[in-house]
Symmetry: C2
Subunit: 336 residues, 2 copies
DNA sequence: CTGTTAGCGCTTTCAA
DNA sequence: TTGAAAGCGCTAACAG
């Protein structure tokens, strides 16, 4: 219609509208004005059909803890259902919790010509900066999610603020306890970046509590949870609250039930699965902090689609997802 | 491709694939099998383009409380951004909180031929059953959201469970108070269905608290909040907790600050806006229960799109959204 | 710098 | 019951 009204060919209009060059400034201006005047909205279906563009994006993330990443995948698939018709495909690659292994896998993806982009959940922050930059510099788009690499040139980040997550955990312990004397913090021997952040946040919140006693961070061994938890019995003998900063909340709950403690401690942690849910219902766990993994998965997928397929500009550069408080009263909504 | 391999024309294949009739059982079977064999995925862009289908859906909902419905609109627009290119348009119509007024508006929409569907947030449940059924019976699709009309034939509902919302409010009062003696419940003179549900849920949770004293439901006048709140000062003199079941949480917070109460009561309510947020930060409000209006708006819009434009079947018939607990520690994530 | 043309995969009308 | 053909709005290769 623009072409008709201006006595131009559709191709000229197309070039003008999309800044493909080879258009005189005069016609360019005419076209842009006309488009605005008649409030032209491009027909995306026609555009997709004509371009026949097909894209494959690699999604790389750890497999542990399983239940968390399963929900992320649910969210990815939810977005995919709406957009894969338009030529957007993905491949999911799971990695161990090892910087070296992740490096290798990501390097291969960036080197190869098999993918048009990478969505990546690094288990640590700074070690990946150079690798990500290498990709982005040669025009290979890299997005981070769940864990960021903020000093790199990644195009976008979707995920939670783990410092704040630790602070919120501290606040929850505060709300659920009454005149507490002693808190314990539990993490893993193989402590990841995000666990460390959580603990820093927790401590920050508790910094001015001079009358409080803290034990920990007590360390669990991922490959021998049961034993390493039962080893903590003496440390937990008379704590009022326990903060589990790693992915072993249900295991800790299970261990505590077996212990012979002076008083039942308030137990706070992160994320949710069926076991955690049961322990909330049984008042073993008082609250857990969730970060809506389904939404995270859906969001990063839609953002990458919009960027790669619709060539939409990225304004913000990150989306920090909200932290949700889950207790007995609303836990049922968080289980899928 | 299917047509090629089978020596048929594309139109026959099209008819077969979409059960448009006029296909012999033999060819029908052949086509279906071939499609499955080569895992045929229809190209939605081509389909949209060829059909040139355009749809207009009416969204009808109350305007009060403003801040809540603004967030719903944000969610609707978020979905719209992705799908309006495909010929999906909406028109938003706001109504007063009056059954009669809503009736009139909805009736007009169902009678007229201007819209292809209706998304409707009724302020009450049963009164709209017949009207909704009238629409659905004549093939005019009606969906409910925020408030349901479960006995009607509406095709889908997106919204919260308000009974459960009241229960959760009660649990929160429980968590935040310590050995409470007396709780107050506040609602409006012009009490809507959803406020009533919340109070029923609240009472259900508190039913076995024989040692507790309850005042209320105290009633506010929407058109004279300040005055009707200050009138409650004597009732609130020595309560330990207040549950605001209506949309006047920030007004109540403001009123309480001015009162000369024996002890600072724990204040719990629903939803969030800038004023509520400030009062949470200042420890005037302890917690508020949110139901992610942005998500609700986005979800109902996508569901209606999928149903009307993609002719997707509706399996579940409803989506009950989660109830989120917002306190000082995570409130900043809930403000937009 | 501009225009002509073919074609993306599907739907729909009309004729056989 | 089937097929031929036009066309949806846009893109891209090519010629001028």
């Amino acid at each position: 219609m623009i072409a008709d009204q201006l006595g131009l060919s559709t191709s000229t209009v197309d070039r003008a509208l999309h800044n493909r060059g080879s258009v005189s400034p005069k016609t360019l201006k005419k076209v842009i004005e006309k488009a605005k005047e008649m409030n032209y909205q491009p027909n995306q279906s026609a555009s997709f059909l004509a371009k026949g563009k097909h894209i494959l994006v690699a999604f790389v993330f750890p497999e542990y803890p399983n239940y968390f990443w399963e929900e992320i995948e649910m969210g990815i698939n939810r977005a995919l259902k709406d957009i894969q018709h338009y030529g957007f495909n993905i491949e999911i690659i799971k990695t161990p919790d090892s910087v070296a292994e992740q490096m290798k896998i990501v390097e291969n993806i960036i080197e190869s010509d098999d993918y048009n982009g990478l969505v990546f959940a690094p288990i640590d922050s700074t070690p990946f900066t150079n690798l990500i930059d290498k990709g982005v510099d040669k025009g290979f788009p890299v997005y981070t999610f769940n864990n960021d690499s903020p000093s790199s040139k990644r195009l976008f980040f979707v995920g939670a603020d783990y410092l704040d997550s630790g602070r919120l955990a501290a606040e929850l312990l505060d709300i659920f306890t009454n005149n507490p004397q002693k808190f314990a913090v539990i993490t893993e021997e193989m402590s990841t970046f995000q666990m460390q952040q959580k603990i820093i946040g927790f401590r920050e919140y508790m910094a001015n509590r001079t009358t409080l006693d803290f034990v920990g961070p007590l360390k669990l061994n991922r490959y021998a949870f049961e034993k390493s938890i039962s080893n903590l019995e003496k440390d937990l003998k008379n704590v009022d609250g326990i903060y589990v900063a790693c992915g072993a909340l249900s295991e800790v709950a299970k261990g505590i039930k077996k212990m012979d403690l002076k008083k039942k401690p308030i137990l706070i942690g992160h994320d949710i699965n069926k076991e955690i849910y049961q322990n909330i219902r049984q008042d073993v766990i008082s609250a857990t902090i969730c970060q809506d993994p389904i939404y995270q998965g859906e969001l990063i997928t839609r953002i990458v689609f919009n960027h790669l397929m619709l060539e939409e500009k990225i304004n913000t550069e990150q989306n920090i997802v909200k932290l949700e408080i889950v207790t007995k009263g609303n836990a049922k909504y968080y289980i899928h």
